[in-house]
Symmetry: D2
């Protein structure tokens, strides 16, 4: 478990010999594959794969792995990402007033469940500053109004750069990011408090109550310019009944939200998610 590995996430037009060419690249350089999984989407004509190998004994120095693999990927028309398991990712958590997802992520990080540091919390409300302090994390209070939104987003960008953030997690951040922001900063995971595509928009638990559903859900997805339409990473549901009023649905939903968000963040940090179009491949 503690051996350092490299991971390639590759998507590529389907063609003969892909597994061989990738495996050959690793074998020829002395690598030992510890995980390899692939998926062929026949409808899209796409080959998608995740391959992970031990760096111990691998002949190429780290800085050359990417360029060397690119020489193979280019002719195949492949898109790819390369990650090293000992790179500690830097995660910013964005919140509003609710603390359940934030606390859950902080505990899990402290318990070693995430290969990531959390140097920055951003909020449009001051409420969770003391929590940030308690965990020794920088807390930036950036209230959002219609008027100052562009300005505050610029400030958010500065903070993300300053803290070298790789991943933004919207942990019940009740503001919509502008399309510009999303275009500029790619990796944002959001938790939506419903089983998307049911109950998009505001007050999903109120909507769920009125519709009389027998299950409620939560959805973690990457954020795109289309609100609530980003590629889904993880979903889960819980059983509810006529006895559950809206506050009870909210309480049950909180458990779903933190569970689903944590799973999505962990999977992302383990480089197990490959986005293509509006969908994701989540390699087990």
């Amino acid at each position: 478990m503690s051996r350092t590995t490299a991971t390639l996430l590759i998507s590529c037009p389907d063609q003969r010999g892909l597994v061989y060419k990738i495996a050959n690249f690793i074998y020829a350089n002395g690598g030992n594959i510890v995980h390899a999984d692939q998926h062929t989407d026949f409808t899209a004509g796409l080959f998608l794969t995740r391959i992970e190998w031990e760096l111990n004994g691998f002949n190429l120095p780290r800085e050359l792995v990417g360029p060397a693999f690119n020489a193979i990927a280019q002719p195949l028309g492949a898109k790819w990402e390369l990650h090293f398991s000992d790179t500690v990712r830097r995660m910013a958590i964005w919140v509003s007033k609710q603390d359940h997802c934030l606390l859950d992520l902080l505990w899990r990080q402290r318990a070693g469940e995430f290969a990531a540091e959390i140097p920055l919390i951003i909020s449009n409300h001051p409420d969770l500053e003391s929590t940030a302090k308690q965990f020794g994390i920088h807390f930036a209070h950036l209230p959002i109004t219609k008027e100052n939104k562009a300005e505050q987003e610029a400030q958010q960008h500065v903070l993300l750069k300053e803290h070298k953030i790789d991943l933004v997690v919207l942990a019940k951040y009740m503001q919509i990011l502008s399309a510009d922001f999303v275009a500029q900063f790619g990796r944002v995971i959001n938790i939506h408090h419903s089983f998307l595509p049911a109950f998009v928009g505001a007050n999903p638990y109120q909507q769920a109550y009125q519709r009389g559903v027998k299950l409620i859900g939560a959805t973690a997805h990457y954020v795109t310019a289309d609100l609530d339409e980003g590629p889904i990473i993880e979903q889960e549901v819980a059983r509810v009944s006529h006895r559950d009023d809206v506050p009870t649905l909210v309480r049950k939903g909180k458990d779903l939200e933190r569970m689903v968000l944590a799973r999505a963040v962990r999977t992302h940090l383990q480089n197990r998610v490959l986005v293509y179009g509006a969908r994701t491949v989540v390699f087990e």
Copy 2:
């Protein structure tokens, strides 16, 4: 289990003394309560209850139970239904071409899971006639076109009367009932092949695939004039992944559909469902 019981399903504006008055009615007449459950919807100001008692030793003859209870219900402004456990309900199953829900219901009926007879199957296609024959059930083939819909619905009404049908189960009947039909014949349960309100309308599995959801669902509901908007009785979901193409989603969905529909039908037949507004109380 085999003792004959009477069951009252009551909904009533909330007020002091309701449990007492209902319990007193049964006790004073020598009844032994075997199940009593209630729910107060404080938002709607409604008291909803299900109460079941043994007829053995009950002083009122069956035909007087209703009138006698009405004398109590009237002043309370209560709506109520009365059912006897030895009444064998008569169920018509409506299908199109797919047989999975039909077969499941037929097998469960034969296995004694439903206190109901199934004397009639109606279909807009001829495909499942042999299945009907094999189980000794009358099969009516009534193809539907835009032109003949009203006429065929009239014919359906005749058949329901002729066979003394209490409950219609749409077991993948791929036609929409007219508002008129629904207004005339009250008790219709439908299985919808999605986790409502997600993916209303046609081709839900195709929609689910394109949206890249990680769970698919099925919903059993009473049919109302508003398509896909009737009160939900039961829902269930199953996990899916990027590996599941549309045919696999359909296959997994079939398992959900038959499970969810069977649960809804059983619950209905056990007089455990009370509809109020767009919602249901399902008494456990």
Copy 3:
């Protein structure tokens, strides 16, 4: 939701008129029932019920409710408990080294999910003292050895009395309570890290791995003198696969454990659990 209520949990040999007699007691004294549920165990010949009513408008002063009801209960041979919703229960949490269940309970208490105070944490290890301090809770470090166990249990009793504890929650307390202790202090809830009765005893995740199960579970139960045999309050499972090594099973198990323990504690605090024999009725 915020109205003060009284709740009776009653178990009683089954007989005619029980619902009436109990409802009459409440109605005659001007009470408004907000929840009533019952279960008849025909095998055991037992009637079990939970009934909750608003104290606002109830004619009996609190201190007389018990004695008055006893006059009814006695002739019926009923056992009963009476609870008032504004009584804030006092909970002690016992831990060893792992903090996931503890933190979850503390967070839920702070979030208002439990009608309880947590004045005391007891541990056989010093590790979680700082967590206790951070939440302003008294932390007692009582290491257990074979030699000092009786002595330390005496000390534990003193602490429970001193802090007026109503409920002990073993939140991954890796010591076995003596039969004496359990006999003296009735209400103890434990979380067992398996789907009981599978994998009793030590190292259940190791056992689960070796057996190659496809689901792992957690069980919350009342503690009795028979280890791992107490009445079960709640259970839940999670899917695992061949990819999950023992540390991953442990991580997944932690999520189950805190979820299941929290549900059991909440249900208990809401006076929804009635123990009879080795089983529980959990009123919804």
Copy 4:
């Protein structure tokens, strides 16, 4: 979906270059890989993989694929199985009196869910003969007593050979196969009516009721000489409550049993299960 493929299931001591060598074998012969998944069990030092490729365009004739691969497998110390997707497996279903699993398998086979024929049903009771007839399947009634067991098993062997059976599915066959039988005929899948290892042996639903569990389960596993100890293929659970008496547990259990057994059979027929030691890898 309808393209013919070959599948290799391989287990092998872990070593560098395995993926490369296998991929090379397929690529060098012009194969197009459509599924490849692997698992490394670091504790056991084992590499386990499933690799599936299209035969269309593959240079080796079928009869040479095995021998050619063996030349590669031998030096690696690998165990392997080779399957072709257009081989229609032949499945015998063994039953006693209950028909729910049998009917479910028959429906699914007819619906095209299994790439298999079902030419033979064996039972120790005559009850399900008419079901067999209805589906046009040979039914062999072989009652078992202590005295005739060896003899009847010999007869079973004859039938399996006669009908060229590849897989035996015990679909609620309430007899224990002898160790001899299991040693001689390898591939037997059983459905056990509990969440193993809980409630081994007889009357698991009665046991579950008495223990007061909140979930019941079912387990599909390969049969080995150790009763209830064979490698698990699939498990599932369903929620139960104090309201569920033993007959209701049995009814809920039947739904679990047929679902779990069907999943296990399908996965086996798709060559997705690799047994090693007491565990299985189920490739998704």
